[in-house]
Structure formats: structure tokens, C-alpha cells
């Protein structure tokens, strides 16, 4: 059957070409989270296990000048740390630049790991305006299921983060026992 195609591999981002070492190892930034059209389309289509979701939601959009400071190119990996946690995401040049000193991660399991749960009695967690650090990393960006396993550990017996991170991937399709 011929379906109209709404899938995409990666969001479209401006080209950057950084070919020298960064001047800083750890960059202090302000973190915002929210939605963009790629994330929204992928999430609501239901493709959350897919590589696509990892790329649209698990991506840290940065000002190219900040990327230069860290020496990262599009689709290289960075580690974002806040007081609430840390997560490995892709780095990509922001379509909305310039916004030096501010990074943007679309909402999703990756962003959740590092946002503040403080509601200040107003029902809404602080999803925007969070102090964070960004650094280059060799660790890989996890698929959604793998990330949920690592962060919440609901159904793994293991406690050690590193072990869980290196477990075999749960893959891009639902895993459940079918009825015989």
C-alpha cells in the first residue's frame, strides 16, 4: 500500500564545519526544553522506539559558536549535566541561532532526565531556564527503550549504570510475549 510518508531520518539543521579542537571542555549553559515540529510529528505518530525519535528528541540544539567552543560537529555526542541528572544526546546546530549560552533539547525522555521537577506549588515543573553544563563525550546516545531502562531501572535486576548502559539494546520494535 502506498502511504504518504511522514518519516524522516534526522531533523534538518544548518551545516557547521568545525575542524579544530574546542577551546573549552565543559561549557556552562542555560537549558531550555520544549517541542519542535520534528519531535511533535515523530512522537505523536507513535514512533518513539525508533532511531528517528532518538534523533529528533535526543538532540541538543546549540549555537554554532558554542559548538565551536566545545569542538563538536553536527550529530556528534555531548553529555548534558544538571543538578537533576545527566544524559548523552546528539549535538546539532540550532535553526534558531544565535542564542549563545543557551541550549535546547526537545521534550522527551532525554530532556526529562535533566530537567528540574520543582513546581514551586504551581503544578508545572521547571522545564525551561535550567543551568547546565555541556561537554563532549564518546558515550553513545541511547534509544528510547534503552534509556528508560538505564534511568528508571524498573524491570532490570542490575543496579550499576555502566552495566545497564552496555546491555544489549531493546531495539526499535515493541518487545512482548505473544500468546501461544
Amino acid at each position: 500500500m502506498h502511504y504518504a510518508n511522514t518519516y524522516l531520518d534526522k531533523p534538518v539543521v544548518p551545516d557547521v564545519n568545525i575542524n579544530k579542537e574546542g577551546s573549552e571542555i565543559v561549557l556552562k549553559c542555560m537549558l531550555n526544553t520544549g517541542s519542535d515540529i520534528y519531535q511533535g510529528a515523530c512522537k505523536k505518530r507513535g514512533s518513539t522506539l525508533k532511531e528517528e525519535y532518538k534523533n529528533v528528541s535526543g538532540t541538543c540544539y546549540m549555537d554554532p559558536r558554542d559548538m565551536e567552543k566545545l569542538g563538536v560537529n553536527n550529530w556528534e555526542n555531548v553529555l548534558v549535566k544538571t543538578d537533576w541528572g545527566e544524559v548523552v544526546v546528539n549535538a546539532a546546530a540550532s535553526r534558531d541561532a544565535p542564542h549563545e549560552g543557551t541550549v535546547f533539547i526537545c521534550k522527551g525522555p532525554w530532556a526529562n532526565t535533566v530537567v528540574s521537577s520543582d513546581t514551586y506549588c504551581c503544578s508545572d515543573p521547571t522545564y525551561k531556564g535550567i543551568h547546565c553544563t555541556v561537554e563532549k563525550t564518546d558515550r553513545k546516545v541511547l534509544l528510547m527503550a534503552d534509556l528508560m531502562r538505564l534511568v528508571y531501572k524498573k524491570y532490570v535486576d542490575e543496579d550499576d549504570d555502566e552495566t545497564i548502559e552496555n546491555m544489549p539494546s531493546l531495539g526499535e520494535l515493541p518487545v512482548y510475549k505473544k500468546k501461544e
Binding site: 543538578d83 520543582d118 514551586y120 506549588c121 504551581c122
Partner: protein, 288 residues
Amino acid sequence: MKTITFKQKKTSSIALEFDELIPDEIYTWGESDFNKYEVPIGNSRFPLTDYFDIKVEGEAESPDEVKMIINGDLNRVKYIGCKMSGGEILCNSSVDLHVGAEMSGGTIIVDGNAAAHAGREMSGGYLEIKGNTKEFTGASYIGEWRGMTGGEIIVHGNAGKQCGECLSGGKITVLGNCDILAGIHMSKGVMEIQGDVNRWPGGQMKNGTIVINGKLGRLLEGFVFDEVVDNPDIEGKVYDGRFIKYTGDIGLNGKGTLLINADVNRDKLGEYGESDDEYTSIREYRNL
């Protein structure tokens, strides 16, 4: 005089609700009444004695003659002293939400921190918190434009965001620091802050007085510089030192008074631009 002592046996992850255990309700109760009583937890009720040992000494003719002493970890005990009109409650620990909410008389002393909504909409009485408080101390119920109308709240530590929201009477004293938007929508009463204040005190205030003895972060544009006063007298209390007086919030033709200590806020005098070393204490509040 009747003394009721609560000694904790175990804690609960789901909060216990103490709104029925106020002097007005229990001044006639004996130990057997407490043994029969079931305390609301979530959607159910469980025997109070599962959680507390209760000792009753003496007799009381009225709520005013009751002294409740609550010992133990009260971080999951909410509505302590809610709507009470007399008597005394002593909490020897940090307490959960709504301590002293809507109280009209009596005394509550918390020897620890209080969670949000402490002293919400109180109309009389005295609430003292030896530690810190979270958001909406002495504030109003959501939607209500008349908040605390009487009584006094003293916070020895720091107060969270929007302390004294919609204050319409009474007095709030914070001996520590205050987070953003202290005294927002205030229309009457006095707020005294001994420590520093993060951004924007008195947003959209109509009337009343805020005194800040420490350093002020950002001031709103709605406040107009009035004069520099020495040793101002606010409703009978003289504040020693030199204060800068602002009037606001003129966005709504407000006539509120904001007094900030001139000595520690020199940057606000003359060219009062934005202070660069902005005071942030968010971390402190979070770790309450």
C-alpha cells in the same frame, strides 16, 4: 489546661491529614476518643494509634485550654492546626503542607521547616516557624484576592516564592531571605524581610508595606522612587537605619510602600540600574 502529647510510632509515605485534630474539635476528647479515631490518609482512614501514641493530661473547658505537642517526623502530616481558633500546637519537627491554614486564633510553633501554604488565609493567631518555609507562606487560596487578613507569621529561616501573596492584613516577618515575588498582589498589611530578596518584590501590589533589610535583587519598573527616609516607623515599629522608599505598583495605580535598606543597596540609589551579582538562593530552597 489539657496537654495532648503525640508520639510517633511510624511514618507514612502518604500524608496524614490533621484538619480534624484541632483544639476546637478535640478539647473534650480523652485517650479513648483518640483510640477510636481514624485519621484520613489518601482515600481511606486508618486508626490514629497506628501512627501515634497519644497521652492526654488535664482537662479543658474550651479550645483555648488545649496544648498539643506533636513529636516525630511530621514531613507527611498536613493540615496541622488548619482552621483552629484557639489553643496551642507545638510541632517538634518539620511539617507538611497547610500548617495553620485559615486559622483564626491560637498559637502554632513549628520547630523545623514548613512546606508550602503555611498560614494560608489566616485571619488571626500566631504562627512561628523556626526553620524555612516553602512557597505561598501566608498567601491566599488560588483565585481568591483576599489572602491573610490578620494574625502574625514569623519565619526564622528563609521563605519560598510568592511569600505573602495577596496579603490583606496582619504581619509576616521573615528573618532569613525571600525568593522571588514576595508580597505579590498585596493589598494591606506589613511584610518585613530581614534577609535578602531575590527578584521583583511587591509585583502588582495595591497597598501595604514591604520592608527589606537585606540586599534586593531586581526591582520592578512599576515602582517609583519616592525618597530616602531615616528610621521609618511602620505601624508602630521603628526600623533603624536609612531606607529607600518606593511607591508602587503603578501599573495598577498601586499605593504600596517598598522600603529597602539604603546601606546594602547602594546601587539602587541614584542610578538604580540592575544589579549584576544577582542573588540566587534557589538551591537552598530546593534542599529544604
